[in-house]
């Protein structure tokens, strides 16, 4: 089984509540450390513009580059749930390594400001899911743009939808995430006036 995230980009209002809920639950005080990151993609020239936002945490890839490149085997993928975890005792730390950050196409690995900080990232709120709760970000989203669960269940619920604006599905790594894209508003669109 692979526990995964679903993100409905067409719903996202770019409010950052998911990130704050994540920081609160995992008690991340370091402002530069974001297990969930929200980026805004703006295209076009006034007044014909389109804007989309992308809320992304670790995608818990089926073939995680971070894990395969980690020189000390600190990053492992759970057999049972597919969740990728970091053993911070084994991790060499940012002053000596950062190979995982270079390997990840989605800039997931995070490092704190302290000396030789160890890699940290989304663990899919295993403490919450063990109690049958959703990850903190999922329960926080004001517009219900996030969901999490076994990949097969998510596919059945939302369809096999992989690419979003600002996100391209890496076929080698196979990120465990479904994204419903926001449709780009094209110049001259809006023809649905009566």
């Amino acid at each position: 089984m692979q526990i995964s995230f679903y993100f409905d980009q067409s719903r996202c209002i770019c409010c950052h509540t998911c990130n704050i809920a994540c920081k609160d639950w995992h008690n991340i005080q370091d402002v530069k450390v974001n297990w969930r990151r929200i980026t805004t993609i703006e295209e076009g020239v006034f007044p014909n513009i389109s804007v989309a936002s992308l809320s992304l945490s670790c995608c818990h890839c089926e073939e995680p580059a971070c894990a395969s490149f980690c020189p000390v085997g600190a990053i492992t993928k759970g057999q049972e749930n597919g969740v990728i975890l970091v053993d911070t005792d084994t991790c060499l730390g940012k002053d000596h390594c950062e190979v995982c950050l270079q390997a990840c196409p989605y800039d997931v690995p995070q490092f704190g400001a302290e000396e030789n900080s160890k890699m940290q990232k989304c663990n899919l709120c295993l403490d919450r899911t063990a109690e049958g709760k959703n990850p903190a970000c999922v329960d926080a989203c004001p517009v219900r743009a996030l969901d999490a669960g076994p990949m097969e269940d998510l596919k059945a619920k939302y369809g096999d939808t992989k690419d979003g604006i600002g996100f391209s599905y890496d076929t080698a790594l196979r990120p465990s995430i479904l994204i419903k894209p926001r449709k780009a508003e094209k110049e001259g669109e809006n023809k649905d006036f009566i």
């Binding site: 719903r11 996202c12 209002i13 770019c14 409010c15 950052h16 509540t17 990130n19 704050i20 809920a21 920081k23 609160d24 639950w25 008690n27 005080q29 402002v31 530069k32 703006e42 076009g44 020239v45 006034f46 007044p47 513009i49 804007v51 989309a52 936002s53 903190a136 329960d139 926080a140 989203c141 004001p142 517009v143 219900r144 508003e185 669109e189 809006n190 649905d192 006036f193 009566i194």
Partner: protein, 723 residues
């Protein structure tokens, strides 16, 4: 309260004065808050979820402070509560004896709590003989004025679950993705979008709401909104799309409005071509939106408050209401009356701490241009308009103001950043004999205190809250932890002050006893214990709440609360004010400091400000989790930036006759050329030359309000230069 192991979960709420009113679940372990979660249905935003960082912030005011440097310099020393309270009581008595109660200026804000904050101080000062206060709601006075003069009430809205019944939603300046506008509104708009309902956004900025909800963005110049609405009215009249039966049955004065719109009154037909150069919106677009609005019924025109925060902003709201009536979109599911937006009457259902009467206002006449209507806000001419507070302090009775103000008592609220013309504000506060401030942090206003008292946050006391705009629920805010350091609630402070001021019986109840009584008096919350235990009471409505449904169903039995009993497109009440700047029918009146003002030769950019997603006004500005989300900046279109040699991120100087600021730029396509934007609530941080480095846009505002009382945060011309 529920507990799991040594962690207890306290149901409480976020009670800041923002558009939401969100229930929270606070995890407390050994007396320390360790997590904050929202509730499933009414989900809290990033602000409420950051309250832990606010609660434990190292910059919290911890002890009573007494000024030691020059006023405003920000130098203080710690004193005891007894010494601080004695001094405030002494100064209050001194000012009262020497100058009378009107010399005490009181203002309070920062919380929408039912029990604590603003009511506590007002009750105290009213029992003391009264005080001078300000009128003119900074957020929405124009909408209040238009709603009262047109409908006779501010209860004009529908609950958000009714949006799904619309065929078209026009968000006119409406940005609930960032300003919330009742918890859950964004989700209702998403559901409307997914149901295929067309959503159009009219706004000078491509906001997060425009991005997430709208399929069409219509950028419009600030201050020009009434012109576009009136041109839409022209199209609807000309094409005979008017709902004549509705107008005949429920309204008065349409023909007077029609004569103005079609040009019979002044020889100028208000055609889309007339509106095009005023608004920056093409005539074709105006025609298309008019057609859409007239023919796609029911349609919800949400005429929100920001366009009304302009010179003659009342006309925007009056025109929007005229359009809603012309199309028969009032009092029906899926429509919207385009008024002030209160829906379910949760606000009047709960009273709050009784404040009594203010003797300074007793027997006074109404101020000029106030509406002689029982539902209009308190109109005493003993009050000072919010844009004139600083001027009133400086000029006093000789300047035509009702009082010679000698001391200010600010219970939160941060008026230095939130009122207009900051430089004048600083001069005014420096001239007073005494300034007392209750605060949680060293705000731009707190720096001007002589005595500064530390107030606890809403996680440290018992309270309750009501949604801003009439969502059908109430929140109970249980106390999560004891007050930190030496902080106290405003009510506690006032209770300690009262005997020192010679006041008896100020407070004979505990917070819980007050809340129990308020709930019992409410009639709408059946069970205090259950309410407190759950932290929320949701009123189950059989169907979405629609204002004016009873009027539309049976006008004879349920007349509108207006002098005529109908919706007043033409208002005799306004005619009787005899002021050409407040015409009896909606008109477009070009504002001062608009694009056509000769001043635009010197200051060619229109500055607007809006509420940021990461703050509630100036509150939360210092929260590290939130700070980087949207750094304070001047947003400028690439056309205006290029003309000035500015690239994204550059520091620029922004200036007009009233202020100077240095701020980083955000060059963006998401704002119209000719318009620049700074989020309101940025702190005022003057350097040695008095140039603001904190990004407080209100330094640029003129101390002038619209004739109907609007506070004009979106009417200011500035120039921008690369530093």
């Amino acid at each position: 309260m529920s507990a799991s192991g040594d962690v207890k979960i306290v149901p409480t709420a976020c009670l800041h004065d923002c558009g939401g009113r969100c229930p929270l679940r606070v995890y407390v372990k050994e007396g320390i808050v360790i997590h904050i979660e929202g509730e499933e249905r009414y989900r809290a935003c990033l602000r409420g979820r950051s309250l832990r960082q606010r609660l434990y912030h190292s910059d919290r005011l911890k002890y009573p402070l007494k000024r030691v440097g020059a006023r405003g310099e920000g130098k203080f020393e710690r004193i005891s509560w007894d010494a601080a309270l004695d001094e405030i009581a002494l100064e209050l008595k001194k000012v009262k004896e020497e100058y009378g109660n009107s010399a005490i200026f009181y203002s309070a804000s920062g919380s929408s709590a039912i029990l604590h904050n603003r009511r506590a101080g007002y009750r105290l000062l009213n029992m003391f003989g009264g005080c001078t206060t300000a009128y003119g709601n900074v957020s929405n006075e124009a909408s209040i004025f238009a709603s009262i003069s047109s409908y006779g009430t501010m209860w004009t809205g529908n609950t958000r679950d009714d949006l799904i019944n619309s065929r078209l939603i026009i968000m006119w300046g409406w940005n609930p993705a960032e300003t919330i506008w009742d918890t859950g509104t964004s989700f209702h708009l998403i559901q409307a979008k997914e149901a295929g309902i067309k959503i159009v956004c009219v706004d000078p900025r491509y906001t997060e709401s425009a991005a997430a909800f709208a399929s069409q963005w219509i950028p419009i110049f600030p201050g020009a909104d009434a012109a576009m609405l009136i041109a839409m009215a022209y199209v609807i009249i000309k094409e005979e799309w008017v709902d004549q039966k509705f107008l005949d049955t429920y309204t008065v004065g349409f023909n007077r409005f029609k004569a103005y719109v079609m040009g019979a009154e002044d020889g100028i037909p208000k055609t889309p071509s007339w509106a095009e150069p005023i608004t920056g919106v093409s005539a074709t677009m105006i025609e298309r939106l008019a057609k859409e609005y007239a023919l796609k019924k029911p349609a919800a025109l949400v005429a929100t408050w920001s366009p009304g925060r302009s010179g003659y902003g009342e006309q925007f709201h009056r025109a929007a209401i005229a359009l809603a009536t012309m199309t028969g979109n009032v009092g029906i599911h899926g429509g919207n009356a385009a008024g002030w937006e209160w829906a379910y009457p949760s606000t009047p259902s709960v009273g709050g701490l009784p404040v009594g009467k203010n003797p300074v206002m007793e027997g006074t006449a109404p101020h000029k241009n106030s509406l002689p209507h029982p539902n209009a806000p308190n109109a005493s001419n003993a009050r000072v308009h919010n844009t004139k507070v600083w001027d009133a302090m400086l000029a006093g009775k000789r300047g035509g103001y009702p009082a010679d103000i000698k001391m200010a008592y600010f219970m939160g609220g941060n008026p230095i950043t939130q009122l207009a013309d900051t430089r004048r504000g600083i001069n005014a506060l420096r001239r007073l004999e005494f300034v007392a401030v209750h605060e949680q942090f060293m705000t731009s206003t707190a720096k001007f205190a002589d005595i500064l008292l530390p107030v606890n946050t809403n996680l440290e006391k018992e309270d309750m809250g009501v949604p801003w705009l009439g969502a059908p629920y109430y929140v109970y805010a249980n106390k999560a932890v004891d007050s930190l350091w030496e902080s106290k609630s405003d009510l506690e402070i006032c209770t300690l002050l009262a005997p020192r001021m010679g006041i008896e019986n100020y407070n004979d109840k505990t917070d819980e006893e007050w809340l129990r009584q308020i709930v019992e008096d409410s009639k709408d919350i059946p069970d205090f214990e259950a309410f407190r235990r759950k932290g929320i009471h949701i009123v189950d409505l059989a169907e979405p709440w629609v204002s004016f449904k009873e009027q539309i169903e049976n006008l004879e039995k349920n007349p509108f609360p207006t002098p005529s009993g109908k919706i007043e497109i033409y208002s005799q009440m306004l005619e009787d004010l005899n002021n050409p700047e407040i015409p009896p029918i909606p008109k477009y009146i070009p504002t001062w400091e608009g694009r056509d003002d000769p001043l635009a030769q010197t200051y060619p950019l229109q500055l607007i400000s809006s509420h940021p997603k990461r703050r509630v006004h100036s509150i939360f500005d210092n929260i590290s989790w939130l700070k980087d989300i949207e750094p304070q900046a001047l947003t400028i279109n690439s056309v205006d930036a290029r003309a000035r040699g500015i690239v994204n991120g550059d520091l620029v100087k922004v200036f007009n006759e009233r202020g100077k600021m240095v701020i980083a730029t955000k060059v963006s396509e998401r704002i119209m050329p000719g318009v620049v934007h700074i989020h309101e609530g940025g702190s005022f941080e003057p350097d040695e030359k008095g140039v603001d480095r904190g990004g407080c846009p209100n330094i640029f505002l003129k101390s002038r309000h619209s004739p109907g009382g609007a506070f004009c945060t979106n009417t200011a011309l500035v120039q921008v230069e690369k530093l």
